[in-house]
Amino acid sequence: MKARPEPVADSASPPLLRTESLSKHFGGVRAVESVTFSLGEGELRCLIGPNGAGKSTFFRCLTKIYRPNAGKIYFRGRDVTSIATHEMARLGVGIKTQVPSVFDGLTVQENLMLAASAGQRGREVGRTVEEVVERLSLQAVLGARLDRLSHGQRQWIELAIVVTSKPSLILLDEPTAGMTHAEVEHTAELIRELNKSAALIVVEHDMQFIRSIATHVTVFHEGRIFLEESAEKVLHDERVGEIYLGKGAFAK
């Protein structure tokens, strides 16, 4: 897995996603400040940074939950800065939010059916759901209502929802939070598999996990991009350790 080829920068075709000097302020708080970020087709990028660094706000700008104060967002070369949330989703951007956002009163199957019917019609809906159920081994919980599942299970179902909607860019905000060790490994496996057909941006804190999935890491600090490097370099960078966990606590 480590020998994954570097994404080739193709100058002819635009990157999948690109932000230019993107800023989001809340009153005096500069949650995201002048972020210029680029992600290629099929790339898998990890986003790290201490709490409050602006990662989730950045995601909310990308999904158009927030309107940025300044800057531009391009998706496949098209300016999408001022479109609505559902239009962004239709272009193929799916997100797993930090706190699981699922349909609590519905069963796992109904959750997946809804996700599939967003962009698909007729027979395809049922087929996609069956595929995802198979792929993520959800047979046992299919008839269970979401509000009766554990936190880890709900995280996993939200992942399933995102997968079912077949996005071409998947944003994952702390996908392993609250998961057991086995579930984390399972998630890493899934992410690698998803990356075969989609680009991903993953916000994570678990260094072990990051090392197992990503080749490239972007470090956020105080709303700005602090560093963008290969995973190995970033994980051994002293400065990153300092901003992230306080001095000395990082490099192990």
Partner: protein
């Protein structure tokens, strides 16, 4: 028991039982009971419209009684002008539908919060009441139909055989029409909830943000749900206007718009049968209490309603259902959801 039947089977059984009941009742009941039941059927259609938009789409609309009233007025004005009920029924459904589409566009495309939707639909109803009440002057005419202010429009022509105004419905026929209308509306809504559209509404009720993140334009679906509910309420208003050959602004009054909300809440949100049950119990109670006057009906309804919001927020039917399911399935998951999603 009914669990073992498929959905079409259940619906067929329901149609069979209701048909027998509807046909038999006029044979055994006194005429004033038949008239009362006709009224309750019209009210039940109104309750279903709110049960749909509130219980499934998650939009609390105070305006269902207003659409009911607009439907009634549109029917009355058209029937008086044309002398035939067929186009009047169409108008009774179409006018509230268009009104709701226009009003709803402003409300839902502004992305108003649930609370604000509740408030603005209430305000709409109040203002309609005041406005219709002030139309007593003879210059408020729609063709030959005088709006008549607080006195309303009397002597509205009843439903007739299409094209034959002299063959019109008497009390028994009106009972059948109202009963089968209620059945038809119920079946139509049950069916629509099983379609993609219905599933989307429920998804929106459960988690609007997630629906948007999946790519659904929730503004549009809310508007559609609101418009469908207005059409149903308008149709209820048509039946209601036929009941007494009469419509007046009291349908826009606060005390009247209050009623469907109480019926639906107490019968059970998220069901269609519950609101019909709630309508049967409470509107009968209102009619009986209205006669004897010792206890004010608002006092009683207000107390019952507040009690339910605080202590039985799910309403009667879901509470009973949960109790039964809790007893039956101690460990396993209920089969309800899984079968519901497959069809």
């Amino acid at each position: 028991m009914s669990r073992s039947l498929s959905f079409p089977g259940q619906m067929l059984a329901l149609v069979a039982v209701s048909t027998v009941l509807l046909l038999a009742l006029p044979l055994v009941l006194e005429i004033d009971r038949i008239l009362q039941l006709t009224l309750v059927f019209a009210f039940s259609i109104l309750a279903l419209s709110l049960a749909f938009v509130w219980g499934y789409a998650g939009i609390f609309s105070f305006g269902q009684a207003a659409f009911f009233g607009i439907g009634g007025y549109a029917y009355a004005a058209t029937a008086i002008n044309l002398g035939d009920s067929t186009p009047a029924i169409v108008a009774g459904v179409l006018v509230p539908t268009l009104f709701a589409a226009l009003f709803g566009y402003f409300v839902f495309y502004a992305r108003l919060s649930k609370i604000f939707v509740a408030v603005i639909t209430l305000v709409m109803t109040l203002i309609l009441y005041k406005f219709m009440g002030q139309t007593a002057k003879p210059d408020y005419m729609i063709g030959n139909a005088r709006l008549g202010g607080y006195n309303g429009i009397p002597a509205v022509p009843p439903i007739n055989v299409p094209g034959q105004p002299h063959l019109f419905a008497g009390p028994d026929e009106m009972f059948y029409i109202a009963g089968f209308s209620l059945l038809a509306v119920y079946l139509l809504l049950r069916w629509s909830l099983r379609t993609r559209f219905g599933k989307i509404l429920v998804g929106m009720r459960e988690n609007e943000k997630r629906m948007e993140l999946l790519g659904f334009d929730t503004r549009l679906y809310k508007l559609l749900a609101f418009v469908v509910a207005a059409a149903v309420a308008g149709f209820g208003g048509v039946v209601f206007t036929n009941w007494n050959a009469f419509i007046d602004p009291h349908v826009f009054q606060l005390a009247f718009s209050a009623q469907p909300i109480i019926w639906v809440m107490i019968g059970g949100l998220g069901t269609l049968a519950g609101p019909i049950l709630g309508t049967f119990i409470l509107s009968t109670l209102s009619l009986e209490l209205g006669v004897q006057k010792a206890l004010d009906i608002n006092l009683l309804l207000g107390a019952i309603f507040t009690f339910f919001v605080l202590l039985v927020p799910q309403g009667i039917i879901p509470t009973i259902r949960n109790y039964l399911e809790g007893r039956r399935t101690a460990g396993g998951d209920s089969s309800e959801g899984a079968t519901g999603a497959r069809g």
